[in-house]
């Protein structure tokens, strides 16, 4: 809003809705209210004990001050960090549908290697969302009319296609009420993030592993569930082979080619640490 990218005529204050609780679910998981803060979730003893991948992912993001204010729903819905998105003198389909995409042919390198389109090559910047993807979280929503829905984390964010301005499956006048974590999967968990400085920087590539589930960050318009890697692991592949299988589907653009080597190594290192490649 400060940069006049969004100029809403009305703002609705949702900060006092009673959505700031973390509750146990009957299934043995956790329900994170939409307004829980990043700091609160990362510090919750249940999250730390049972979902370390989530605590690690949140703590690797932003800064202490930002995490104190950032909420579970807000972090999921944060906009891309594509440099051209923020420079309103440049064409950007996400800002202005049909205007064109300055990132294509540009020099911004933190772009997608999976699922990019002719219309948009931006990546989703959230760390938390990558962990939620590996954890198979569910998103609970409610519409203005009171209709409740449950969406799978993996399908919540969209690939850009030719409508990069529509980033999620959320409908107009629908809001997130909670994120539900299923019981923790068996097996190790880890989140690792590569970035250009030790803190307060967005990922240039990240990996979340929860048991046999793998999600990658900063490689696509959404948290990228590494299904090919998961399948390869199930079939007995080594960590390096599993990552190679996943990255076969990557389409680097010349500026972001480094992400191939980065994701191969980082992914393999994470899978080795959690033992995800071992016989389970």
């Amino acid at each position: 809003m400060k940069l006049q990218i969004e100029q809403p005529t009305h703002l609705v204050d949702i900060s006092r809705l009673p959505l700031a609780e973390i509750e146990d679910t009957p299934e043995g998981g956790l329900r994170l209210g939409a307004m829980t803060t990043n700091s609160q979730v990362a510090a919750d003893p249940r999250v730390r004990a049972r979902y370390p991948v989530l605590a690690q992912a949140i703590l690797s993001g932003a800064s202490g001050q930002l995490r104190n204010k950032a909420t579970t729903a807000g972090n999921l819905l944060q906009r891309t960090r594509c440099a051209y998105f923020y420079d309103t003198t440049k064409p950007c389909n996400k800002r202005e549908p049909g205007a064109g995409c300055a990132a294509i042919g540009g020099i911004y390198a933190n772009t997608a290697i999976f699922g990019a389109s002719e219309a948009c090559v931006a990546t989703h910047p959230s760390d938390m969302a990558v962990a939620l993807s590996a954890l198979d979280a569910k998103i609970e929503t409610e519409s203005g009319a009171g209709e409740a829905r449950v969406l799978a984390m993996d399908g919540f964010h969209r690939l850009p296609g030719d409508t990069p301005h529509i980033e999620t499956e959320l409908r107009p006048a629908e809001m997130i009420t909670a994120v539900v974590l299923p019981p923790p999967p068996p097996g190790g968990q880890i989140y690792r993030k590569a970035r250009e400085r030790a803190s307060y920087a967005f990922a240039i590539g990240s990996v979340a592993v929860a048991g046999g589930k793998v999600a990658l960050g900063a490689v696509a318009h959404k948290p990228w569930r590494a299904e090919a890697a998961e399948l390869a692991l199930e079939q007995g592949a080594s960590p390096a082979e599993a990552m190679a299988a996943e990255l076969k589907g990557a389409r680097p653009d010349g500026h972001n080619d480094f992400k191939l080597k980065l994701m191969t190594r980082l992914g393999a290192a994470c899978l080795t640490t959690t033992g995800a490649g071992d016989d389970q």
């Binding site: 420079d87 003198t89 440049k90 042919g105 020099i107 590569a194 400085r197 030790a198 980065l262």
Partner: protein
């Protein structure tokens, strides 16, 4: 004119009787700043309610503003005025002077000819910032764009010798290099960097009849005052410029920008105070930056490491209409011995924002090259990098043969090596691991010139004993207020609490401002001279006053200490003397000029950096583990502010090596990073264990106090120590800064 010989005599500063010189006293204005009560330029309260100005930037890099439709903006709520190149009031032409004694020429805003992306083409003033911003979005421009040269590397063929400069040659470099048994020929690239000061450029301006008062954020008081006078085409006596607190300058605020010009113009037009501040994006696109530099280093050595041939040739860039050379080779002229030498610069003119001075201009970029080349040569020779430097330590300035004023480079290296544990370095890269991290050590030397400029200061004592130092100097966050208070208190033998310091006002005796690490020496020497003159005036006052216990004494024998004026054991408090003998107070001025023979000496500050880094072989991420520096920079005035300056410089060096860069989009001429989320400088987590020490030193050729600058030395060479440590950790020699994960990963096996 004085001679440096005069400066060797004992002074109140060298005697340091109350021990204030060197003491790590807290910042004079620290409490005001941490409590948020120091008014920065934008926050200064105007005499009547102000209007708010917003600048509109060009989206093209080169061409003309063909037309501008301001009707919608003019009709928007709260709007007071809308200016474009077509209706902005008359201003002095760029560089023009009507006052012959002006230090600088006019700097007009809102030109129709566009010379870089982000140049301001429109200006809107409204009753609130929000209304101004909303109206600014309604101005419709049409442009006639022209082809522009935007990318440095694409325009190397157009590189030229900077005007008025020649390469410096000693001996026959080419022949010596060709004949040297061991040779190195490598090119190093330092990136374009932005100053990214915390406080953006900002001005509050108002008029009183024909006189304008401006509070602005600028490093040079006179420069800003004269520029504005020339731009407004009025005598500089009608411009009062104040700059009391500055949230960082780093060279980027050595000149004024459109906020100053347009705030003053609009305040005149509206008869109302006007405030204008740059946005963060405008700070990137519409101020100056440190240009990128390509540096070719050639070293020819004997097998024992002695250099026969040395060359450093730097190619850099500037804005087409604003010549500026990043003198990245100059430092090397005084660093290592070699009988055959070549240094020089080439300049590429581009249509991007202007290049300009940024903390340690020259050294900060330049040392990234030679200090890595020395590391590479040491490895080729099988020598320790410190040993190679010791073997090339000159007795006199290697280019000019002049004696050094002081030079403790060798001690900086040997002392640092011992304290850091340099002997634990394994010269073979890639041998040390800590968990998944590859660990390595690196070092580099530091050198930065020392300067003294002409300056004045005024000091008065009032009947209550308060001593007030006044100077048209600036404190850009470095500690100038504090050291001037220390110098004044020590000179006059009074407690610190009795001294007030007032800076940043064009009505005060002029000082050149903050830059080139000359501030403390220059402003401080003038303050010291003023203090000495006040001593003399008070001594004469006391010895001539029949009611003084000092009556009839020789003024030469008068001493100052503990707040008293005394001869032997006859004494009285200063305020008793003043209230009785000069109840209206005593005011004197003092000045400093460089000594006539100052240039007979090669005068520099020196240091050595030691760094330990970890490299993550999975990601190519580099993390600093610890860093230590040893520096020799003359007498240290304040242990705390000097340490902050030197470690601050080192931290910037870490950022230069690992994080900090900007790039120009080849299609638009805009910088890719335009905010502090995208433009990375080190965060706290990047600087875990970093410290420094100063060697004892007094440079009696530098100025009467024997001090030198510390503001820029810390950054010189720091990044090279990191790059050398990265090589030692993982065997990847990256000559293109910064060493981002992307580049390191590509270089890893």
């Amino acid at each position: 004119m004085s001679s440096v010989k005069d400066w060797a005599a004992p002074t109140p500063i060298s005697e340091n009787r109350s021990g204030l010189i060197g003491k790590g006293v807290d910042r004079y204005e620290g409490r005001l700043k941490v409590t948020g009560s120091a008014p920065f330029a934008y926050e200064v309260e105007a005499p009547s309610p102000p209007a708010y100005g917003v600048l509109i930037a060009s989206p093209i890099a080169k061409g003309l503003v063909a037309s501008a439709d301001i009707s919608a903006a003019q009709a928007a709520p709260g709007v007071r005025l809308v200016w474009t190149p077509h209706n902005v009031p008359a201003q002095g032409e760029r560089g023009a002077k009507i006052n012959p004694r002006s230090q600088r020429g006019a700097n007009p805003a809102l030109a129709a000819r566009i010379e870089h992306f982000g140049q301001h083409v429109g200006f809107v003033v409204a009753d609130t910032l929000e209304n101004a911003k909303a109206a600014a979005a309604l101005v419709r421009f049409e442009y006639a764009a022209e082809p522009a040269d935007l990318i440095f590397e694409d325009n190397f063929a157009k590189a030229d010798q900077p005007e008025g400069e020649e390469d410096v040659r000693v001996g026959d470099f080419e022949a010596a290099f060709a004949g040297a048994p061991v040779r190195l020929d490598e090119t190093y690239v330092s990136p374009l960097q932005n100053h990214a000061q915390m406080e953006p450029c900002a001005t509050t301006a108002w008029w009183d009849g024909d006189n304008v008062t401006v509070h602005t954020s600028i490093q040079m008081v006179k420069g800003g005052q004269h520029t504005l006078a020339e731009t407004l085409m009025i005598p500089s006596t009608q411009v009062r410029l104040l700059t009391r607190y500055i949230g960082g300058g780093f060279g980027g605020k050595g000149q004024s920008y459109d906020d100053l010009t347009l705030a003053a113009l609009a305040a005149r037009e509206l008869g109302q105070p006007v405030k204008v501040a740059y946005t963060r994006q405008q700070m990137f696109q519409a101020t100056i930056h440190r240009p990128a530099v390509h540096m070719r280093v050639r070293l020819g050595a004997q097998a024992d490491g002695r250099l026969d041939a040395f060359a450093l040739e730097a190619v850099t860039h500037c804005r087409r209409e604003a010549p500026f050379t990043e003198h990245a080779a100059n430092f090397a002229r005084s660093l290592y011995a070699a009988p055959n030498r070549l240094t020089g610069h080439r300049l590429v003119k581009l249509d991007i924002p202007a290049a300009g001075a940024m903390r340690a201009p020259g050294e900060a970029s330049g040392m990234l090259s030679l200090e890595c080349a020395m590391d590479e040569l040491a490895e080729q020779l099988g020598l320790d990098p410190i040993e190679l430097r010791l073997r090339n330590e000159p007795d006199t300035d290697p280019e000019t043969g002049k004696p050094f004023s002081t030079r403790q480079l060798v001690r900086c290296m040997t002392e640092g090596a011992q304290r850091f544990g340099w002997d634990r370095r394994n010269p073979k890269p890639g041998q040390v691991r800590d968990g998944r991290w590859l660990v390595g050590l690196g070092m580099a030397a530091a050198i930065r010139g020392n300067f003294l400029l002409p300056a004045k200061a005024g000091v008065r004592i009032d009947a209550d004993g308060t001593i007030t130092l006044r100077q048209g100097m600036t404190d850009i966050g470095t500690g100038t207020y504090t050291i001037l208070a220390q110098i004044t208190a020590e000179t006059l033998g009074v407690p610190l609490a009795q001294v007030k310091v007032e800076l940043g006002d064009s009505d005060f005796p002029p000082a050149p401002g903050s830059g080139g690490q000359f501030g403390a020496a220059t402003a401080g020497s003038a303050a010291f001279a003023a203090g000495m003159n006040l001593r003399k005036a008070l001594a004469e006052l006391a010895t001539g006053d029949p009611n003084s216990p000092l009556y009839g004494d020789d003024p030469e024998l008068v001493t100052f200490g503990g707040g008293n004026i005394a001869v032997d054991n006859r004494a009285e408090p200063l305020e008793r003397l003043v209230v009785r003998a000069a109840p209206e107070g005593v005011y004197v001025e003092g000045s400093i000029t460089p000594a006539a023979d100052a240039r007979d000496y090669s005068q520099h500050t020196y240091g050595a950096h030691f760094a330990e880094v970890g490299v993550d072989p999975d990601t190519g991420e580099v993390r600093l583990r610890r860093m230590f520096g040893v520096f020799a920079a003359g007498r240290i005035l304040n242990a705390k502010t000097a340490m902050s300056q030197i470690t601050g410089g080192m931290i910037w060096g870490v950022g230069t090596a690992l994080h900090e860069y900007n790039e120009v989009d080849p299609r638009y001429g805009s910088f890719i990073a335009q905010d502090l989320a995208g433009y990375h400088v080190p965060a706290h987590a990047d600087i875990v264990d970093l410290s420094a020490m100063f060697l004892d030193e007094v440079d009696d050729k530098a100025n009467p106090m024997g001090i030198k600058g510390v503001g820029e030395l810390g950054i010189a060479g720091a990044g090279a120590a990191i790059a050398n440590a990265v090589y030692n950790a993982c065997g990847a020699r990256i000559r293109d800064y910064p060493l981002t994960p992307e580049k390191v990963l590509a270089a890893l096996p």
